[in-house]
């Protein structure tokens, strides 16, 4: 869980968990181990316990869970909307919150409709302010000199990794593609459109293999940029 050790959300649930930590005025991240050791180790222990509980419960209960899938969707979503409205209102006891809820809900629908991932929206909204704070602190110490952002070795390493990711990933994919197998993710299941929480939805699978920027250089290195959903990777 990069959440506990670094305070970085890479999944929707982790992003909301950060909000949960913030709610209790406990900033998540590495300092947590220093400041709240009891809480952190209790949490880690509870992960082991939770895992064991899951195993104990789920072997006998599996058929029961399957029955859960038969609940008619309208009932289900009526309940969800009820709790959503209640939660939004109780967050500040303001009618305005319900207006914002509906507005952002429409935004969430549009995002799903047009294939925009929801995860970056929520991560941006939750982590954005903290990032701004860190940026300001860094620039205040250096009196506005942007070179200070590269003053720590870890920062340089992280930026290098980012560049490597952005530049290297298409090349690696092209190589994989060139040498036969493209890994187990080449076969996204057709019906994968019902998950709502993680924002990886693409309408059907129509946009998956159509973006080829093919570039052949003297036959030795052929760079192919493929844009396709990485379902099956470590999404969450």
């Amino acid at each position: 869980m990069p959440l506990l050790t670094l305070g970085l959300p890479t999944t929707a649930t982790a992003a909301v968990m950060i909000a949960a930590f913030n709610q209790y005025n406990i900033p998540p991240g590495p300092m947590l181990f220093q400041n709240e050791p009891v809480l952190v180790w209790t949490l880690i222990a509870s992960l082991f316990i939770g895992n064991a509980l899951l195993l104990a419960l789920n072997l006998p209960l599996a058929p029961l869970w399957a029955k859960l899938l038969r609940i008619p969707r309208p009932y289900l979503y009526a309940g969800i909307l009820f709790f959503a409205t209640l939660g939004a209102y109780s967050a500040g006891m303001q009618i305005l919150n319900i207006g914002i809820l509906l507005l952002l809900g429409a935004l969430g629908y549009m995002a799903r409709r047009f294939g925009f991932p929801v995860l970056p929206i929520i991560v941006g909204a939750i982590v954005g302010l903290e990032m701004e704070r860190q940026l300001r602190r860094a620039l205040q110490i250096s009196a506005g000199d942007p070179a200070a952002l590269l003053s720590e070795p870890l920062a340089v390493v992280v930026y290098s990794v980012i560049v490597l990711f952005l530049a290297g990933l298409p090349i690696v994919k092209a190589l994989l593609r060139r040498f036969g197998r493209g890994g187990p993710t080449d076969d996204p299941p057709a019906g994968g459109g019902t998950d709502g929480t993680d924002g990886f939805r693409e309408d059907g699978s129509t946009v998956q293999f159509d973006a080829f920027g093919t570039q052949a250089t003297d036959g030795s290195a052929r760079v192919i940029r493929v844009i396709r959903p990485k379902v099956g990777r470590c999404g969450r």
């Binding site: 970085l8 399957a66 909307l81 952002l104 860190q134 999404g235």
Partner: protein, 261 residues
């Protein structure tokens, strides 16, 4: 070995009746919402946030962690029975498990998923116990530039690497950043994007953002698509694995183990 002592202490805290109860509720709730396609652990935690204002910190965080793990497991159930991954992490499970389910071995596939999930989760948490102190030792010396860089990394990972389209991912990210900007600037007190509304000066509550995007957005989406009907569920038989099935889990854990960590 200091962490082991700390971990044991953690166990003694986590094994109190109250915390066990929270873990149980979390795991049950998490599995239930994980099973239901469209309702994920993220939405559940967001919905529960306002209800836990008054609760004990440790207890509610334990519950949330349970929801997180339960949701992952529940997602695999849905993937296997509907071939529709409830979670993006369970797509692989869908590919393998759905074949088993269609061959009339749905229950075995579910049990395999449960055991794989247990092994993967336990190993990932075990790794966390040993790796975490090293990371913390490094992290203590870090200043603002490093934290900023890591957050940039998180943004890049979330918007450009994990999604399908970089442009869409970045567009989403900037929408999110804009939503996060609403309210008074923390340093200067300047009002940003409040449109003269004093009520907005405190910013938009994270609960509202999360619930709106996940719950309301998903409900509208389902409402717009409900006419397609619900895919049929594959019936489940006896939830015990036969001898052959024990050979199956080897394909799942390595991937899931790393995903979890």
């Amino acid at each position: 070995m200091e962490n082991l002592t700390l971990l044991m202490e953690g166990f003694s805290n986590a094994l109190t009746l109250q915390n066990l109860l929270f873990a149980l509720i979390g795991v049950l709730l998490g599995t239930a919402v994980g099973v239901l396609p469209g309702i994920g652990p993220a939405m559940t935690v967001a919905l529960l946030l306002p209800l836990t204002y008054a609760l004990d910190v440790t207890g509610s965080l334990i519950m949330f962690a349970g929801i997180y793990y339960g949701g992952m497991y529940g997602g695999s159930t849905t993937s296997i029975l509907l071939n529709a991954p409830g979670e993006s992490s369970s797509v692989v499970t869908a590919l393998e498990g759905n074949k088993m389910a269609k061959a009339g071995r749905g229950a075995q596939a579910l049990a395999t998923a449960a055991i794989s999930s247990f092994v993967a989760g336990t190993l990932a948490t075990g790794a966390l116990v040993f790796v975490a102190p090293f990371i913390v030792a490094i992290a203590i010396g870090l200043g603002a530039p490093s934290y900023f860089a890591m957050m940039v990394f998180a943004f890049v990972a979330v918007s450009a690497v994990l999604g399908s389209s970089r442009i869409r991912g970045l567009a989403s990210l900037f929408i999110g950043l804009t939503i996060g900007l609403v309210g008074l600037d923390g340093t200067t007190g300047q009002a940003r994007l409040t449109f003269g509304q004093p009520l907005l000066s405190g910013g938009i509550d994270v609960v509202v953002i999360a619930v709106a995007l996940f719950a309301v957005g998903e409900a509208l989406w389902i409402a717009a698509h409900l006419r397609h009907g619900i895919p049929p569920t594959i019936p489940v038989g006896v939830p015990w694995m036969g001898k052959d099935d024990w050979k199956q889990p080897t394909t799942l854990p390595p991937r899931e183990r790393w995903c979890r960590f």
